[in-house]
């Protein structure tokens, strides 16, 4: 193998698994250390800069970081249950405990730059664009059909998971920068909007249409069959405050989980979720499934809805066909009937949460925006520009339903495109991230971070008594970590951003690092081709997603090869190294956002 090029920003970025997995590339270990230090405001700002909604995401994020977290891998075969650091809930700790940070937020300059930008839909994608562009002097106008900002955050996420005050606070931070928010002004025609001569338009209107289930009885029993996201939205706005006693929720995604838990709080006594596929394959996050089951909601699987039964225009139940999963020769899974008799589940109401679709009835087809055969706009995956030079898409509106954190990432990228476009630059030329790497050595055995590895298992977030939470849909279920538990959980973080940096010229091949490494990550061996080399390291490096850090040739002709996979970043290799060939260096990667940093042209000409 060739020596690893650690100058390449991606190399160490990949080692920080959580940051690499986060669509917005939030520097997770950096803010976790700040939480441990009780610097909640600073931790909040690190988050705010990357992901814009720390308080909201700290309660609702889909957490792509957690399955990626190294802690989950290093705990394997080391205890009862390997689990990642509770990254998401630590983020909430920063949001809940921070001091007033309003004076640290940017403000739009009084002198505007003369460029006008329209944002359609006040969800997370548009709000991110607004946050990135308003401080730069752009005149940002944000349209939404609802009177308050937030989009799906406000309409689809139930209050028992996300209190309204948190939404008001974090959307407010953005509006208060100096965004012209036109609440209640729904855009019905993009063509008309384009005539208003905006310099750029961003569409962040989400995926607002819930998929319906067209099976016999649907029309006849329509009064008690609701589309999940519409129903959640009505609940959210207080238009609906009751549901029948027996409720069936169809669908296995997070919306289904929100529906069943909401129904449980609005009078549903016998609420169950029924899914076509197996429990394991459900799209809902594992913790959301667990939370539903915890509230006494059974999840029945391998049942395909066949018919709504009804009597005198009133829904009486749903008939299901029993299926099983069969894998064909190509390994594809198919659901085939088991041949057992159909099952009737009696109920008073059904919530259909089987998916969401995009809908753009308000975008005319003669204005230069192309749509593909699925009715989705043709959008560039990097610049987020549509086939219209001034119109950009992001969030669910761009590539279909995803999560808040993806919408934020799209928003950042679209903001860069808009900023570059309006500065006359090539928008396909993307800015590199800002990286810094610094030694953390403070003394012979002293580092600027806690390198002692906590043996603790993941802490559970405490819940409010279900006697209270199941009665009032507005009472938040999770209480959040208290500062002491937050500290203990934060200490489980392995500080993967503090990198083990090896200098081959200094190494005397004494084996001290090999002997002390608790995870057998380091080997000194003859070089070889990667696959072969991986097999003969001190511990075979079988996780191909994780790189091998390879040095140049050493005095004996061997190389140092370090498997990054389960490194604890405990620094013992560096403490044991007699020549400081190993050093612990903090790698900080910050994404470049819209602004002078993303542009190529010098901002000021020489006088």
């Amino acid at each position: 193998m060739k020596p690893t090029d650690i100058q390449q920003p991606d190399y160490f970025h990949k080692v920080v698994d959580c940051q690499w997995a986060c669509p917005a590339h939030t520097p997770v270990p950096e803010y976790i250390r700040l939480i441990a230090a009780g610097r909640y405001g600073d931790a909040y700002m690190v988050n705010w800069e990357s992901n814009v909604f720390p308080g909201i995401l700290g309660r609702t994020c889909d957490r792509p970081c957690e399955p990626a977290c190294r802690r989950g891998r290093v705990e394997e075969n080391n205890g009862d249950k390997p689990e990642p650091v509770a990254i998401c809930r630590l983020k909430r700790v920063a949001a809940d405990n921070k001091e007033d940070i309003r004076n640290r937020l940017p403000k739009a300059p009084k002198q505007k730059n003369g460029k006008r930008i329209a944002l359609i839909g006040a969800g997370p994608a548009s709000l991110t664009v607004a946050r990135d562009l308003a401080p730069l002097g752009y005149q940002v106008t944000l349209f939404d059909g609802d009177s308050r900002a937030g989009g799906m955050i406000r309409t689809q996420i139930p209050r028992f998971r996300l209190p309204e005050s948190v939404i008001d606070e974090e959307t407010g931070y953005i509006i208060d920068i100096g965004v012209d928010f036109r609440g209640g002004q729904r855009i019905d025609s993009l063509k008309a909007l384009l005539t208003e001569d905006y310099d750029a338009v961003f569409v962040g209107s989400g995926a607002p249409r819930g998929r319906d289930l067209d099976i016999p009885g649907r029309k006849e029993a329509a009064a008690h069959i609701h589309i999940g996201i519409d129903w959640l939205s009505s609940v959210s706005f207080g238009h609906i405050d009751r549901i029948g006693k027996r409720v069936i929720v169809l669908g296995g995604g997070n919306t289904a989980m929100d529906c069943c838990r909401s129904a449980r709080r609005l009078g549903g006594e016998d609420v169950k979720v029924i899914v076509r596929s197996g429990y394991e394959e459900m799209k809902a996050s594992s913790w959301e499934k667990e939370d539903s089951v915890h509230e006494g909601i059974p999840i029945l699987n391998y049942l395909v809805p066949k018919e709504f039964t009804h009597l005198d225009g009133k829904l009486t139940g749903v008939v299901f066909e029993k299926v099983k999963a069969v894998h064909d020769e190509k390994g594809r899974r198919k659901l085939v009937p088991t041949g057992e008799p159909d099952e009737l589940h009696k109920c008073d109401a059904v919530l259909v949460a089987i998916g969401q679709e995009n809908a753009f009835p308000w975008i005319e087809h003669d204005i230069g925006i192309e749509f593909d055969t699925w009715g989705m706009p043709v959008v560039d995956k990097i610049t987020f520009r549509s086939t219209h030079p001034k119109v950009f898409f992001g969030g669910d509106a761009a590539f279909g339903p995803k999560n808040i954190i993806w919408a934020v990432a799209h928003g950042h990228d679209a903001a860069i495109s808009i900023d570059k476009l309006l500065n006359g630059e090539d928008i396909s030329d993307r800015p590199a991230p800002m990286t810094r790497i610094r030694s953390q050595k403070m003394g012979i055995h002293e580092w600027s971070f806690d390198n002692q590895i906590s043996p603790e298992q993941r802490y559970k977030v405490p819940w409010k008594d279900s006697k209270i939470t199941l009665k009032d849909i507005k009472v938040e279920v999770e209480l959040g970590f208290d500062p002491n538990t937050a500290y203990a959980e934060a200490q489980r973080c392995l500080n993967c951003d503090v990198q083990t940096v090896f200098t081959d010229k200094l190494c005397i091949e004494c084996d001290a690092c090999v002997d002390i490494c608790p995870m057998d990550c380091i080997s000194f061996t003859l070089n070889g081709e990667e696959t072969e080399l991986r097999g003969r390291l001190n511990a075979p490096a079988l996780n191909l997603e994780q790189d091998i850090y390879v040095s140049g040739p050493l005095k004996t002709g061997r190389i140092m090869a370090k498997d990054e996979d389960v490194c604890l970043h405990c620094s013992l290799c560096a403490e044991r190294c007699p020549t400081s060939a190993w050093d612990m260096q903090k790698f900080l990667l910050e994404m470049t956002h819209a602004g002078p940093g993303c542009r190529n042209k010098p901002q000021r000409k020489a006088a």
Binding site: V74, E76, C510, D511, K555, T556, V566, L572, E575
Partner: protein, 351 residues
């Protein structure tokens, strides 16, 4: 040296041996030696060897004297018996322990100061008596604990860290062990675990006095240009006479070797040592030739390593003294005091 304990977390793929332990279970407390000390590598090699041999930690006694080397038993086999004895007196304490309980595995760990100076007489007598033990000398050629004066094994002409040349002749512990009748003699290097681990394993399975001289650079005081015990010097002058594959009596022999490449030595317990020849015509069972060869190579400035000598027909002190089979602590009062009838019989036989 570090102030932190090594984290308990281990690699998820670490295997358990036949007695149910992972390699990490054979560790001791974290080492307080200098960073980069060769002794820590020897500790790691002992840990690896004991894990591979499926040794139950409570069946091992590790004994040492005084010095950096003699601190190391704290850093391996944390669940074994240990005795940190008086300076240079490890061989006597070990001999006594061995006589009292022959069932344990005796690991004597010493250094060049402990064994070649103050304990030279002790070393000599334990070897010549054929005590069943593994005697490891962690040899760095300096007194590390007292800041780097030459020890008795420092080569004549080698330079101290401050540039002063050594004017004394070195003490050749390998040569002495051979003269004194050690039945297993090896030399290795702390920086070469591929050689050291099988050598320790073979020594553990050997019955009789097994002596291993491990050159172990002192990073703090003897790892400079002019030293003959530095990492660089040993690597440049290392002449391995053979590579050792240790095959446990219980394991099947699966490795294939080209004909003529290998010498197999079967020990008394059935374990097989397979030596891949590196030096042509080197016969590790011919003591006279071995001594001659070593003197020759040493004169040529080479550091000869490998399994230098083995006597497959070895015996030990218990055999020589015809002692009782059971450890003394297992002997019952009836065996220790056979009664007046037996006494009468003995007295009568002496009249």
């Amino acid at each position: 040296m570090t102030y932190l304990a090594k984290p308990k977390l281990h690699h998820p793929a670490l295997a358990k041996n036949k007695v149910g332990y992972i390699r990490r279970d054979y560790e001791g407390t974290v080492s307080t030696l200098c960073a980069g000390c060769g002794h820590d590598s020897i500790s790691a090699a002992i840990i690896q060897a004991c894990w591979e041999l499926d040794i139950e930690p409570h069946r091992v006694a590790k004994l040492s004297g005084i010095g950096c080397s003699s601190k190391t038993p704290t850093y391996f086999l944390g669940n074994s018996h240990g005795f940190n004895s008086v300076h240079g007196r490890m061989p006597s304490v070990l001999t006594g322990a061995n006589l009292a309980n022959r069932d344990l595995l005796y690991l004597g760990v010493s250094g060049d100061g402990d064994s070649a100076s103050i304990g030279l007489g002790q070393f000599a007598h334990s070897i010549r008596r054929g005590v069943n033990m593994v005697y490891i000398v962690e040899n760095n050629g300096v007194y590390g604990l007292t800041k780097g004066q030459f020890s008795a094994t420092a080569d004549k002409g080698s330079k101290s860290k401050r540039g002063v040349a050594n004017s004394d002749e070195p003490l050749d512990m390998i040569g002495m062990a051979l003269l004194l009748g050690a039945t297993f003699v090896g030399r290795s290097f702390s920086g070469d675990k591929a050689q050291l681990v099988p050598m320790i394993k073979a020594a553990i399975e050997h019955k009789g006095a097994a002596f291993i001289d491990v050159i172990s650079p002192c990073v703090a005081f003897n790892n400079h240009a002019g030293s003959t015990k530095s990492y660089d010097y040993v690597r440049h002058h290392n002449e391995a006479v053979n590579r050792l594959d240790f095959i446990d009596a219980r394991d099947e022999i699966t490795t294939d070797y080209a004909p003529g490449e290998v010498v197999s030595v079967t020990q008394h317990d059935g374990s097989v040592l397979r030596l891949r020849k590196l030096a042509a015509d080197y016969d590790p069972t011919d003591r006279i030739k071995v001594m001659h060869y070593l003197q020759q190579r040493s004169a040529a400035g080479e550091v000869v390593t490998g399994l230098l000598y083995i006597n497959p027909e070895s015996s030990d002190l218990h055999e020589h003294l015809d002692t009782v089979e059971a450890p003394l602590n297992q002997l019952e009062a009836s065996e220790l005091c056979p009664g007046s009838v037996a006494l009468e019989r003995i007295n009568a036989s002496l009249r």
